[in-house]
């Protein structure tokens, strides 16, 4: 162990360091080790790429700011994450100056591929300290890396380390200090291209951080020359006693990716995850809503009646509750994903699913976020972080809320119980179950269509290659998984609270003001702004088969869909003596018989809820994850439009048949 401590604010440090390396090279483990796991997570301005910054104290007491850049294979990155690295090194990211030093990290067991980026970094003429990570794994694979030889060949300081056990950190820190005090630039710039090569002069005039070559011949020639140079260096500076170059796929890996067993195993694993977020998170969620309910009841009964009490009891407390209630699901889901990601299984699942997901323009890794969205779109959208390409990630975020989440279930349940007869179809399946299944399928079909259209029309310009490295299967580390859970819960609480709370207060205001006149007949909601709005939109929703009562219920359920049931109950003045659900079902059936609420209206309403974005938490998380109001409003807009059109079609077309 080393005595690395961190200072409170990295912005006060005079020097800054960038951490650069391939994905899966252990860069983040090194970053956590250097900063003592105390770091700030934010997004790069305007994009969804996560930015981690911390500070480290150097042996002589001064500190340095250290930024963990996204993993990349080359300075000519294709994905948004990778482009960030080049922009950062060019000093083009607002609020970030050029770093004083690069700590380049390579995986000792995968040296050739890792050194490609290093050879590009050397061309940039930045001072570099090279950390050869995973020396323990290399030792196990009988690979020897001679640091001094490599240091001479590349003309940069080289330190062998093992980030997981923090071995070699002391030497690394003293090399960092030396490099910050007297920065030196490697003499090996362009060493990979012979002086007499025809491309030499062209390449000398190009900036290594400038626009990439576009001529295929130039690209392949540069690549071949770099790899040839690297190969000659690796040959001279490493030795390998066993012949590891034989492609061996472990039996477990073979099983996971098997065409026969792969899918069943995956279905069991994903089924367990779905079960976990649906059921295991249920109890803590119920406890949280229970506590929130009793808190607001306590507030309204103990505090003197007035605007402030009402604001507290009906606006702020439920608003905060609305945020905290998601924490169990997010924590459980991120624990599962962290486990699968760190063990390397997620890449196997992506391998199995890619062929199916590709057909709608998505990729294999979109599956878990979409599956989680059947429980709740909020953790679902957060979990799209495991999708490496931006366009795939955006498309997945945009369709995640079309998966019928658990909050729609109460709406479906009440309407199906009231309007769909429990007859058996073909003597086997109940019609009620079929309609429920139909609603779920409708959402999935809609999602496929939207994803396809998005990729065709909006995101087609963005490259989306599937090409990626399969990390080896290994035992996951609990500490890393828990840290991931903590990070995602913390960032959700920090970023979503403001928006969700603000929306809760606004909705509370609209539903409570102006107050009903004394002696007002019917529900007080009717007199409020929300009620007036519901009445005002009646002409617009009439073609869908909805009256003003449904209009109010829809508007009031904007914060969360399940509120629909509560609002409809209060509007119909269902007494407290009845259970909300059965009472509402009874009332709806009576209204159906008297012709005031047709079955077609109920169907149209269910279809509306399949597509409508009646969830402000989803919108808040969408804003947080896309970093853009455009995408957020786009999501709300397209879902509302889709809901309107689909309901209109159901009511109008259905009306023709039922007449």
């Amino acid at each position: 162990m080393t005595d690395i401590t961190t200072t409170a604010d990295s912005d006060d440090c005079p020097k800054s360091i960038a951490l650069v390396g391939n994905p899966n090279c252990g860069k983040t483990t090194l970053f956590n080790g250097l900063t003592g796991s105390r770091y700030k997570v934010a997004n790069y301005p305007g994009v969804t790429v996560e930015r981690k910054e911390g500070s480290l104290t150097l042996p002589h007491g001064s500190c340095a700011k250290i930024v963990d850049l996204p993993g990349t294979y080359a300075l000519v990155g294709s994905s948004l994450d990778e482009k960030i690295v080049t922009k950062f090194l060019r000093g083009e990211i607002p609020g970030n100056s050029k770093p004083d030093l690069i700590i380049a990290v390579v995986d000792a067991t995968n040296l050739e591929r890792n050194l490609f980026l290093i050879s590009e970094l050397i061309d940039t003429e930045y001072p570099i300290v090279l950390a050869i990570n995973m020396m323990d794994a290399a030792e196990r694979a009988s690979i020897k890396v001679y640091g001094e030889l490599l240091s001479r060949a590349l003309d940069i300081p080289v330190v062998p380390i093992t980030a997981r056990t923090k071995s070699g950190f002391q030497t690394l820190l003293s090399e960092i200090t030396k490099a910050l005090e007297t920065p030196t630039i490697s003499s090996k710039r362009l060493a990979w291209i012979p002086e007499e090569h025809t491309l030499r002069r062209t390449i000398e005039t190009l900036s290594p951080l400038g626009p990439a070559a576009s001529d295929p011949n130039v690209i392949t020639t540069i690549g071949s020359l770099r790899y040839a140079w690297i190969r000659s260096i690796v040959r001279k500076t490493t030795s390998q006693s066993s012949n590891d170059d034989i492609a061996v796929v472990s039996p477990l890996d073979r099983l996971f990716t098997s065409r026969i067993w792969g899918l069943p195993i995956m279905l069991v694993i994903f089924g367990l995850i779905f079960q976990a977020i649906f059921l295991w998170a249920q109890l803590p969620m119920e406890i949280i809503s229970g506590v929130v309910d009793s808190l607001s009841a306590w507030a309204s009964s103990t505090l003197p009646p007035g605007i402030l009490t009402s604001l507290l009891a009906e606006g702020i407390i439920p608003g905060v509750g609305n945020v905290i209630v998601f924490v169990p699901q997010i924590a459980v889901l991120f624990f599962c994903i962290g486990f699968l990601e760190d063990s390397g299984y997620l890449s196997r699942a992506a391998f199995l699913l890619d062929n199916f997901m590709r057909r709608v323009g998505l990729q294999g890794r979109a599956f878990i976020p979409l599956l989680s969205s059947f429980a709740c779109a909020v953790p679902g959208i957060l979990s799209t972080r495991s999708i490496p390409t931006r366009s795939d990630r955006l498309a997945t975020i945009m369709i995640a809320p079309l998966m019928s989440c658990s909050a729609r279930l109460p709406v479906y349940a009440v309407l199906i119980a009231a309007f769909i007869p429990p007859t058996l179809v073909g003597g086997l399946i109940s019609l009620q179950g079929l309609v429920l299944l139909g609603m779920y399928l409708l959402g999935v079909v809609g999602a496929c269509g939207v994803a396809w259209a998005l990729k065709k029309c909006l995101l087609w310009k963005e490259s989306c290659f599937y090409v990626m490295e399969m990390p080896p299967l290994r035992k996951p580390i609990l500490r890393i998984i828990l840290r991931g859970v903590y990070d995602s819960v913390a960032s959700f609480l920090k970023n979503a609270t403001t928006i969700i709370l603000a929306c809760s207060v606004i909705v509370w205001f609209l539903a409570s003001y102006p107050k009903a006149e004394p002696g007002h007949q019917g529900n007080p909601v009717q007199a409020s702004y929300a009620g007036k709005l519901g009445t005002a939109i009646e002409p617009a929703i009439k073609p869908l088969g909805f009256n003003w009562e449904i209009g109010i219920a829809i508007l009031s359920s904007f914060p969360a869909r399940e509120v629909f049931v509560t609002t409809l109950s209060t509007i119909y003045n269902i007494g407290d003596d009845d259970d909300e659900h059965t009472g509402l079902v009874k009332t709806l059936q009576e209204r159906n018989q008297t012709g005031r609420f047709s079955t077609l209206t109920a169907l149209s309403l269910m279809v509306f809820y399949v597509f409508a974005c009646m969830c402000m938490s989803t919108l808040a998380v969408c804003k947080r994850e896309t970093g853009s109001w455009g995408w957020t409003l786009g999501m709300f807009g397209y879902m509302t439009a889709l809901a309107y059109i689909a309901s209109l079609a159901v009511f109008q077309v259905g009306g023709l048949f039922l007449k």
Partner: protein, 87 residues
Amino acid sequence: MENTTATVSKEERALSSVRVGQKAMISAIKSCPAELLHKLVSMGIVAGSEVTVTQRGFFGSPINIHLLGSVLSLRSAEAAHIQVHPL
């Protein structure tokens, strides 16, 4: 550079049509968009590299290849740009 290793042979074919377990040497990357080409090249897919196909998904995609000591996964559409000589 690819000209030095790409001796024209009847056997040359796309990586996407190589069966599991087969070892092959990359001879060229053809008609590939620049961005994908940069990516492939940076990951070590250059003429002269040896690859072994380790796994294939349903309907042959994605295709996993062993290269430079680790496994890469790519779609068959992407692998179709890569010309190889089976070894």
